[in-house]
Subunit: 346 residues, 2 copies
């Protein structure tokens, strides 16, 4: 490893690192339609269909805490977040590979529990497990899942194609998964070493959002039924603010969203109140919502406004106007991106 | 995690675990031709071509030791072993995704070194990097690479299709990568905390086999030129013995190989002598050779015997005869499989 000329990764962050590593990559194969830079890469192996591929690597202690995360739920979630990447391309997930690195604390039943969750998610979304890898690990569990999906040629929706005046839409509600995580962390500390059970009464919804997220196939299907084709789309894994800035940067546009339009469930709001946190900050930056964020032509306004569980939260503006949220009291607040940073690691 | 009803993974091993987890998986998508159980899964998205997909997860401390493994070499090797899986299906690698989990000890230059190796391997084999994921890690480096490749429909070669009387062939030579690893481990101990350089004179070949393995595209191409289509094929990552038993088990056949036919480089033999190890054990079980092991119809004997860098080492027999090696003194020795075991982990 480099000892001289060290530049800490924290100085450029996750997205800076990816850009630095991949900016010189030029695809050479005719089958590679688009490579790095979206929820999934687009590959084309036939004249009428495109293949989508996406991958995630999850590390114990960084992405999940087995103290309160049951392995079956973890398997379900690990599969689901990959399906979400394919739906975010307007595609249909078809196959996954599942790789696990396991330390000695795990027994066969543990791995079976994990797989039971993966299989349940696959059964619900019609996805095949087609391969994988298992190996040892010195410390804890590492999970790598790669998903492939398909989309009829030319129908995959990228991040880079939002246009000025497009409406910005989001499915479901935001911040709940993050509040569920805060609750689990609080109860972990409160019950540590004591013979008491955590108190989750009235908090079932935010827990479920953290422990059992659902990829929004239903939204993709209903958009098709309504004949609405998003101009750009991404799934919300790192928080609304960060994802919206991906769309804007890659589409060379700006955005205006309205605080009063951001969908927040009442359990999320109550939990934020209890923990003395700003609920809007949680909704903007919380992450792990796995809702869909997409843009549609302004001509689709009536149709999309009438759709259940979809909220129009703002619109696309020119790049020079930047990315901002209009607060309830009419102030323009600059949006900031928050991706993964090395600060969370030891 | 399970505390009652614990069955240690070591009781069934890697292959037993995979079988237990995947035996009930039934593909539901028409595009899934074959799933778990080969070097790569076979997917079909068009009428004239099949897509191959394979994945590997590599963990620091288990699969590599950064004390002596330069990051650029590690990137090169991590990509190369994935290409090897596609060649082992008689396919052409086309795209990879690269995911890294990094602890704080790594700086940007380290990750760039790693990527430089990946990119070099990709450039040599015409492969595109199409995606990936980077995240934090509490402890060390985890690498997950997924590769996709293509093969004209019906030409992918599986493990399960070897036939009685087929000849068993192997490319290159065996045991060198393992001896290179032993040498690196010896010099790591010998030079630890001392201001001396390791002594690698005359050992360049076995070091290169460990630090810079090459996927055997050349063999695949020459087999095509000679119009030889292997009946079954696998790449040697876990050792000849283990891989040959995969072919035999999945093809429901047995095998006879001949000790005197096993190809071993003289540097491998010298190193084994120096370390007081049995060179044949190293060749049979060493692993990381990334040579191709394949079977051909007996009618191709003359053609294959005349090919440079390919050795006919035995033949396929009926399943009831089992898997054995005939030693130089004519004794039949049962082959044993050695996959990954949890014993190597803490």
């Amino acid at each position: 490893m480099n000892t001289n000329n060290r530049t800490e990764i924290s100085t450029i962050g996750e997205f800076g690192l990816i850009e630095r590593l991949t900016s010189d990559i030029k695809p050479v194969n005719k089958e590679t339609v688009t490579a790095v830079g979206d929820d999934a890469a687009i590959l084309q192996f036939s004249s009428d269909e495109e293949v989508l591929i996406s991958t995630d690597l999850l590390m114990e202690g960084i992405h999940f805490d087995l103290t309160y995360f049951p392995l079956k739920h973890l398997g379900y979630k690990a599969a689901m977040v990959n399906f979400s990447d394919i739906y975010a391309m307007n595609g249909t997930p078809k196959q996954i590979t599942v790789s696990l690195a396991l330390s000695k604390k795990f027994c066969i039943e543990d791995v079976e529990d994990f797989y039971a969750g993966v299989k349940l998610a696959c059964a619900q979304h019609g996805v095949d497990i087609v391969g994988g890898d298992t190996s040892a690990s010195l410390t804890g569990l590492a999970i790598s899942i790669t998903v492939t999906g398909t989309a009829p040629k030319g129908t995959a929706v990228k991040r880079s194609t939002a246009k000025e005046t497009d409406l910005i839409c989001v499915s479901g509600n935001l911040g709940a998964a993050y509040m569920g995580l805060q609750l689990l962390e609080r109860e972990k500390i409160a019950t540590a070493g004591k013979d008491i059970q955590p108190d989750f009464a009235g908090k079932e919804y935010i827990l479920e959002r953290q422990l059992k997220p659902e990829a929004r196939r239903d939204i993709i299907e209903r958009l098709r039924e309504e004949n609405i084709r998003p101009t750009a789309m991404i799934d919300i894994s790192d928080g609304l603010s960060s994802e919206l800035m991906h769309i804007c940067k890659q589409s060379s546009v700006g955005c205006r969203i309205y605080e009063e339009r951001i969908p927040i469930d009442y359990q999320t709001a109550i939990m934020a109140e209890e923990l003395n946190m700003n609920v809007m900050t949680c909704a903007l930056n919380g992450g792990e919502d796995y809702e869909l964020l997409f843009t549609v032509p302004i001509a689709d306004h009536e149709k999309v406004a009438a759709m259940k569980d979809i909220r129009v939260i703002g619109h696309i503006v020119s790049e020079s106007m930047g990315n901002a949220m209009i607060t309830r009291d009419g102030v323009e607040m600059q949006l900031r991106a928050q991706g993964w940073t090395m600060e969370s690691a030891e």
